[in-house]
């Protein structure tokens, strides 16, 4: 007679066999005392484990609940929570107004401030160079940049430093 393996008996005890296999095991256990004993031993093991669990059962320590809430209270908010706080209407509307104003007026203002001096500097530099070229004995003809700067006042130096830098990088005509 082919006995049933212990593994199969364990599956049978845990209701893990398909109905057809379950019926085969049941029929076998009724006719095979060796397998019935093995089955009883496995059932006893399950019973013992449950009894052991009951013996070891513990109440929930009250400190756990207190500690969980304490951890939650003491925790700093997430970035998401901070962002949501900022998105409340009281904060969001003024911030949105400032952003809209910056987007609307920003390019005009920034464009005027940055582009105008560069265009002016280029224009005056080229104009100045053309005049010096046409006047061979002009007072600034052949002057080195150092000489040029030493004869100028600090304000003049600052005003001309930009055109000089531009001239150094400008393409040759």
């Amino acid at each position: 007679m082919q006995h049933i393996t212990t593994d199969r008996l364990i599956d049978y005890i845990h209701g893990a066999l398909v109905p057809a296999d379950d019926a085969v095991v049941l029929a076998h256990l009724e006719s095979c005392s060796a397998c019935a004993d093995e089955y009883a031993a496995e059932v006893r093991m399950s019973d013992l484990l449950r009894e052991q669990a009951t013996r070891e059962e513990r109440e929930l320590p009250s400190m756990i609940k207190a500690n969980v809430w304490q951890a939650i209270r003491e925790a700093r908010p997430t970035y998401g929570a901070r962002l949501r706080a900022w998105l409340r209407p009281a904060f969001a509307l003024p911030v949105a107004a400032v952003i809209v104003a910056a987007v609307f007026f920003g390019p005009t203002y920034l464009g005027h401030r940055e582009s105008a001096p560069l265009i002016d500097a280029a224009y005056y530099l080229e104009d100045h160079a053309a005049m010096n070229g046409s006047v061979p004995f002009g007072d600034r003809s052949g002057a080195t940049p150092a000489e040029f700067q030493s004869s100028a006042s600090p304000d003049q130096t600052a005003a001309i430093a930009v055109p000089l830098a531009y001239a150094a990088n400008a393409p040759q005509h």
């Binding site: 006995h3 364990i10 845990h14 009883a40 939650i72 700093r76 908010p77």
Partner: protein, 188 residues
């Protein structure tokens, strides 16, 4: 374990009620499950505490109508696994060499039930010691299958493994338990 690793958001009223009820109804079961896994009260406390912080954090992901216990047992199992990895550098997966599936086709040896020879107190002590000697995964599957009485399918969902793995772990764990009990009886 114990302290929250990520920042937490201030509780909403619904979240507060959810957590309060979860601890009230399932705190004891969760703590006992954690104790059966860890076999240590201090570790079980830490594990339970951390599990409820996770519940608080992920409360929206709980699907109403499903088993809360299965959900929190999965959280506890994963936390325990993570904790073991952190402590030991890897999750122990001990499969004793002499613990192959039991198969016999001919004469069945006498059904040895060393259990019956024990005096009640000794048996409890021996069984507790034997449970400690199982690997964490084997212990978890025994607890879920024999104490919590979950099906293999449910255990596979809680432990995040296949039904085949659940089956083989349970077979090995129970065979090992019987062997360990027999060894301890012989030593006495």
């Amino acid at each position: 374990m114990g302290a929250a690793r990520k920042p937490l958001e201030p509780p909403t009223p619904e979240q507060t009620v959810f957590l309060e009820r979860a601890i009230e109804r399932y705190g004891k079961a969760t703590f006992n499950f954690a104790y059966r896994l860890t076999r240590n009260e201090a570790d079980a406390r830490d594990l339970t505490q951390e599990a409820f912080i996770r519940v608080y954090r992920a409360w929206r992901s709980f699907v109403p109508g499903t088993s809360f216990l299965s959900w929190i047992y999965r959280i506890v199992t994963n936390l325990y696994r993570d904790e073991l990895r952190r402590k030991k550098g890897r999750f122990q997966e001990e499969i004793p060499e002499d613990n192959a599936p039991q198969a016999f086709g001919g004469e069945r040896p006498l059904a040895v039930t060393p259990i019956e020879d024990y005096v009640e107190g000794q048996l409890s002590e021996s069984l507790a010691r034997s449970l400690e000697m199982l690997s964490p995964d084997q212990r978890a599957v025994v607890v879920l299958a024999d104490i919590e009485e979950y099906s293999y399918q449910e255990i596979s969902e809680i432990m995040g493994c296949s039904i085949g793995t659940v089956r083989s772990r349970l077979h090995r764990a129970r065979a090992l338990l019987r062997r360990l009990l027999q060894q301890q009886r012989q030593q006495k």
